[in-house]
């Protein structure tokens, strides 16, 4: 643990109300939480006997809410290491009885819980607040006065004054919305805000004491990549301009820079949400398009050329008709360039077939613009491969551009291996020598692993073969369905890769398209033939020979020498850079003021022009994708490589402590991971650690990385400002009053009044209660009902969501739910059963407070009665169920008021009766309240959507096989047994095993 963490915990413990800690992402949240728990434990066990008379002798358990799996694991590990505090994971699958036992037995233990389970257990008094020592929330940015976290905090604080400790490592989420931090704190009964940005003096000092050695490697992108990036940015820009033109959004927030982040969607949605239902289709599509484009930008740097093309093809099928951007000029460019990174079609005479690409992709967009004015059709440098390859008719020339980072990675690994084998530094005992390569996702990890073992050429080839096989399959399919295809409307041209012919085009797009298709199919059939042969022959040999035949240009470059020289080249460079780096490090520790963010200063090593030039020198020579390294040679090289571990950042596992790498190559830079490295290094100050960052030069990657730092700093600055203006109401003894003090009588007081006002006046007031389905605890309505003083009885309901009285049952639908469940037909079934069992069945249509109070935009009403319109669906519903009552509610609070008003003069609902309603009697099992948790609901929903599966037989299927995976393998006879129908079983089996049409054209 680092010294500053002690300080964080010490600060937190000062206030008996608890506190909210906001820290930079990547700082050790798990270790902080664990330390806090240990401190609490220590504190209570040392002062347990006399000091506080109110608290029971035992400390009570510590509840940890909504911890993500990875974080949970880390905290658990740390606590188990200490051996002081028992830890239990009370997941949703733990049965109620077992949970109750855990609560009563585990005083002084840490319990991990989900809010849903905890809220229900508190309401049903399975867990008494007096048994709770403290509440820990690890995702404070999600708290608001209607959130389930706040609900739980209130349920606990009402009965017992326990501290609430909240953490958030997403500062930017803490500033989203007006006075978000303050409102979150009020709702959690927290008075103090502790800010721990990375640039906090203490944190910075700890992390910068022995910083790792950092080398920043800038890899230039290939010209087509640059072109695609520019085109995507163009398209995004166009979408943004279009969005601005709607006059519905605040222009200032909408920049391409911000568009790189996921949170951009949130910004736009937050602005548009209040009027989302009134927006036209086009505006909604623009927002969706921006999301797609951001993904494309991301995948451009992450995926190899072939996979990227595949993804684009997929997109074209799934988005083609709807998207706005897909028809734009720049998107044409994206598709063309992506194709060009993979293959090129040549005419019989050997000249290239060039589809209309109007701009030369160059590094600078301005230049590109001017050349587009000339309307010149130029070739890409990389695709000018030898032109005298004339033996093939309509030959497909493979380009198969490798990702530039692959090469650099290999070189780095070789260099590291050399260093290690030289043994220039005496290897310490504790050094593993492991090289950790950190990528964004599992997929990249797998691919890089293959790159190293098989060689990048082979990887590209494998992807390419897969691609071609997909095409071949599709073609086979299309032949069968030719009739249908010919009927396709003209507008679908874009789906086939045809684009509206520009006037300047010299060849008809159709003929080009045909040429291309034929060539692709020829290559594909070649491969499928070879694959059949490969059953006999060795696979790799086959593909090698085939490569020779198609390309016919395996150049015998003495590769080994080249790589050697590069390696030594790089070596020199890195040593000079080391010096530079140390230089900046010294600088960084010199200026210890708040702005000396270590990662900024380290990244500033990138300003070192020298290094950029070096790298580009090295790679530029070999960037041309045609240059080949022999497979055999690759394999030999691989043997020389150091032990490499791959790590997917998305997996959220914290591997640094387990693998203890001595070199880390950050393949996909990520700010959180940078902090984790820093913390790891600071925790192990004696260990030697070298970190390489691989950035694509002038790419969105760099932009994204830099603006994520900027964004976080801005968030903290804003939080610092907010903190100075914050007003949290407290009572005289310094206790927080919480969000709605009026509706919360203090427990002691109310007890007194009970005794004083002879006979208990409160008892005469009707204690209202509402039965709530367990699944509804995902929403905020139970929380708000509770705020209004209604008793909530959580049970699992088969029919309806809320039971207000023996007569009134309510099915609640938010607007999006309503549309969805109309579409799926679920609503019809729900209403049908509700009508069967209750005298007053109610459909509650609940609008969101923050959104506009209307159903649809005026334009959507249209001139005619359209069966798809929501009005038609509602009308049909009320025609078929005239007994159905509809409640239109403006907001959560309005709903609560209506509930109360409907309940007056009605009897209170009976929970055991409500629970039994609609439960099939043949089941025979007594339904207990955790039923919802005991089922894999997602799997059941999936199952029920399969053909042949009906309301009557799905339970039997579930009983007969463990999971969907089992179902997939079940023979048809067994299915027939389970389903009680030969026909149904056949339908299901046929559907499961049916060959999916390959939909990518």
């Amino acid at each position: 643990m680092l010294p500053f963490e002690e300080q964080v915990v010490a600060d937190l413990l000062e206030d008996p109300n608890g506190g909210l800690v906001v820290l930079s992402s990547g700082l050790p949240l798990a270790s902080l939480a664990a330390t806090l728990l240990l401190h609490l434990h220590h504190q209570s066990s040392s002062t347990s006997s006399p000091s506080t008379s109110t608290s029971t002798a035992a400390a009570g358990c510590y509840l940890i809410l909504s911890a993500p799996e990875a974080l949970k694991e880390q905290i658990r590990r740390r606590l188990l290491d200490s051996q002081l505090l028992p830890v239990h994971d009370v997941g949703p699958d733990v049965p109620a009885a077992h949970r109750r036992a855990l609560y009563t037995s585990s005083s002084g233990a840490a319990l991990f819980l989900t809010p849903r389970v905890l809220a229900a257990d508190l309401l049903t008094a399975h867990l008494s607040p007096t048994r709770v020592g403290a509440l820990l929330l690890l995702a404070a940015h999600r708290a608001s006065d209607t959130s389930s976290d706040a609900f739980i905090a209130r349920l606990l604080r009402q009965r017992r004054l326990l501290p609430v400790y909240a953490f958030s490592d997403r500062p930017h989420a803490m500033v989203a919305g007006f006075a978000k931090a303050e409102r979150a704190m009020k709702s959690l009964y927290i008075r103090r805000l502790h800010l721990w940005p990375r640039f906090h003096v203490l944190a910075a000092a700890d992390l910068e004491r022995a910083p790792p050695e950092v080398i920043d490697v800038r890899v230039p992108m290939t010209p087509p990549m640059v072109g695609i990036q520019a085109a995507i940015l163009d398209a995004m820009d166009a979408c943004l301009k279009e969005l601005r033109r709607t006059n519905k959004v605040d222009v200032e927030d909408l920049t391409v820079d911000k568009g790189l982040f996921k949170s951009f969607d949130e910004i736009v949605r937050r602005q548009l949400d209040p009027l989302w239902h009134t927006l036209g289709k086009k505006t909604k599509q623009l927002v969706a398009d921006l999301r797609t484009l951001r993904k494309l930008l991301d995948y451009l740097l992450r995926y190899d050329a072939v996979t990227y093309l595949t993804y684009l093809d997929t997109l074209r099928v799934s988005e083609g008709v709807r998207s706005v951007w897909i028809l734009a000029d720049s998107s044409h460019k994206i598709f063309e360039l992506a194709k060009r990174r993979v293959y090129q079609v040549t005419r019989p005479d050997g000249t290239k077939v060039i589809t209309s690409i109007k701009r030369t992709p160059t590094k600078k967009r301005k230049v590109a613009d001017t050349s587009s004015n000339k309307g010149k059709e130029t070739e890409n440098e990389d695709s000018t491969t030898n032109k005298d390859d004339a033996q093939k008719v309509n030959a497909l020339e493979e380009v198969l551009e490798e990702a530039p980072k692959w090469k650099v990675l290999r070189e780095l690994l070789q260099e590291i291996a050399e260093e290690q084998s030289k043994g220039d530094a005496v290897v310490h005992e504790d050094e593993s020598g492991i090289v950790l390569v950190a990528c964004k996702d599992e997929r990249s990890c797998l691919q890089l692993q293959e790159c190293i073992s098989k060689g990048p050429q082979q990887v590209m080839r494998d992807e390419w073969e897969k691609y071609l096989l997909g095409k071949a399959e599709l073609h086979g399919l299309h032949k069968k369905k030719k009739k249908r295809q010919s009927q396709q409307p003209k507008g679908f041209g874009v789906l086939d890769g045809e684009f509206p012919a520009g006037p300047s085009e010299d060849a008809g797009p159709v003929s080009i398209r045909n040429l291309e298709t034929n060539a692709l199919l020829a290559a594909a059939s070649g491969i499928s033939k070879l694959n059949k042969e490969a059953d006999v022959k060795d696979d790799s040999v086959a593909s090698c020979s085939k490569r020779g035949s198609i390309k016919g240009k395996g150049k015998g470059v003495p590769k080994k020498i080249v790589t050697k020289r590069q390696a030594s080249n790089r070596k020199k460079k890195s040593t000079t850079e080391n010096e530079n780096c140390q230089g900046t490090d010294v600088e960084a520790s010199d200026k210890t003021d708040e702005q000396s963010e270590i990662d900024v200063s380290k990244v500033s090593a990138k300003d070192d022009k020298q290094s950029e030039i070096d790298v580009s020198n090295v790679t530029a020579k070999d960037a041309s994708p045609a240059s080949t390294a022999d497979n055999a040679e690759n394999l030999i090289d691989a043997k020389m490589l150091p032990p490499v571990q791959f790590y997917a950042l998305d997996s959220d596992q914290h591997v640094l402590d387990t693998w203890k790498p001595s070199v880390i190559i950050v393949y996909h830079p990520d700010i959180t991971f940078v902090r984790e490295i820093e913390v790891y290094k600071a925790e192990n100050p004696l260990k030697k650690l070298k970190v390489y960052f691989l950035f694509y030069e002038e790419s969105s990657e760099v932009q994204k990385f830099e603006s994520s730092i900027r964004r976080e700093n801005e968030a903290f600055e804003s939080l610092i400002r907010q903190k100075s203006l914050m007003m949290i109401p407290v009572d005289q003894s310094g206790r927080c009053l919480g969000p709605t003090p009026a509706s919360e009588p203090e427990p002691i007081l109310s007890q007194n009044s009970l005794t004083r006002k002879a006979g208990g006046r409160r008892a005469t007031e009707k204690d209202m209660q509402v039965i709530v389905d367990m699944r509804e605890f995902m929403s905020s309505l139970p929380n708000v009902l509770h705020q209004k003083g209604i008793r909530i009885i959580p049970v699992t309901l088969e029919v309806g969501d809320y039971v207000l009285s023996p007569l009134i049952c309510v099915e609640r639908k938010s607007i999006s739910d309503l549309f969805q469940s109309f579409a799926s037909g679920r609503l019809y079934n729900q209403v049908e059963t509700m009508i069967r069992y209750y005298k007053i069945p109610v459909l509650l249509i609940e609008f969101s407070q923050d959104k506009s109070f209307s159903f649809q935009s005026a334009s959507e009403v249209g001139d005619d009665v359209s069966p798809t319109n929501i009005i038609s669906k509602l009308s049909l519903l009320v025609l078929h169920f005239p007994r159905l009552r509809i409640v239109w509610s403006r907001s959560l609070h309005a709903t609560a008021d209506i509930f109360i008003s409907l309940k007056t003069n009605q009897d209170e609902p009976d929970e055991t009766k409500a629970m039994r309603v609609g439960v099939p009697s043949e089941d025979g099992v007594v339904e207990d309240d955790v039923r919802a948790e005991n089922y894999n609901t997602s799997a059941i929903e999936f199952l029920r959507r399969l053909p042949g599966v009906t309301d009557a037989n799905y339970r039997a299927i579930m009983d007969g096989c463990g999971s969907l995976a089992d179902l997939a393998l079940l023979p048809v006879e067994r299915l027939a047994e389970l389903m009680g129908s030969q026909k149904g079983a056949r339908t299901l089996k046929e559907f499961l095993d049916a060959k999916c049409p390959s939909m990518i054209s």
């Binding site: 799934s318 037909g825 009005i871 209506i898």
Partner: protein, 206 residues
Amino acid sequence: TAASQSKNAILVSNRQKGNPLLKHIRNARWTFADIVPDYVIGQSSCALYISLRYHLLHPDYLYYRIRELQKNFKLRVILCHIDIEDVVKPLHEVTRTSLLHDCTLLCGWSLEECGRYLETIKVFENKPADSIREHTDSDYLSRFTHALTSIRRVNKTDVITLGSSFGSLSRIMDASMEELARCPGIGERKVKRLYDTFHEPFKRVT
């Protein structure tokens, strides 16, 4: 023929004369008649029209109108025009009144919408509920998409990706985490969600 004509038209009470709503009933025929409800839409359905603004001025009006309605209409619609900003209190009252007196409340935010409800109920008078029930038969691809998109966050692009990478639904259901992770566009979380859906038992506790 007059009788049959009135059978195919919406009957409008004379009280509604001058209601601009009538301009917006264009997809169904209507005719004035001497009736108790504001509108008799079909054999068994009728409607009362109220605007929230009017309700604010005459809070008892709706109750008295409902009391006049006979019980021989199966569907009794209160058609409420939301024509004010501050809706919570008046809408609460209208909701309560209609609910406790066996009426179905429908809200429209414009006269067009209100008119459309009347038209639609007339036009759909004898229409089966197929379009709001679960669709039973359709082509392979829609069923395939329908099933896979039941899993949260799985979109149409993912469906196509999965379909073309694995070849059949049973192969997808049996796929390993690693195989799923290899599909472009399917991130870590989606992989886990897919895998869990297929491999976690239907019943978690036996």
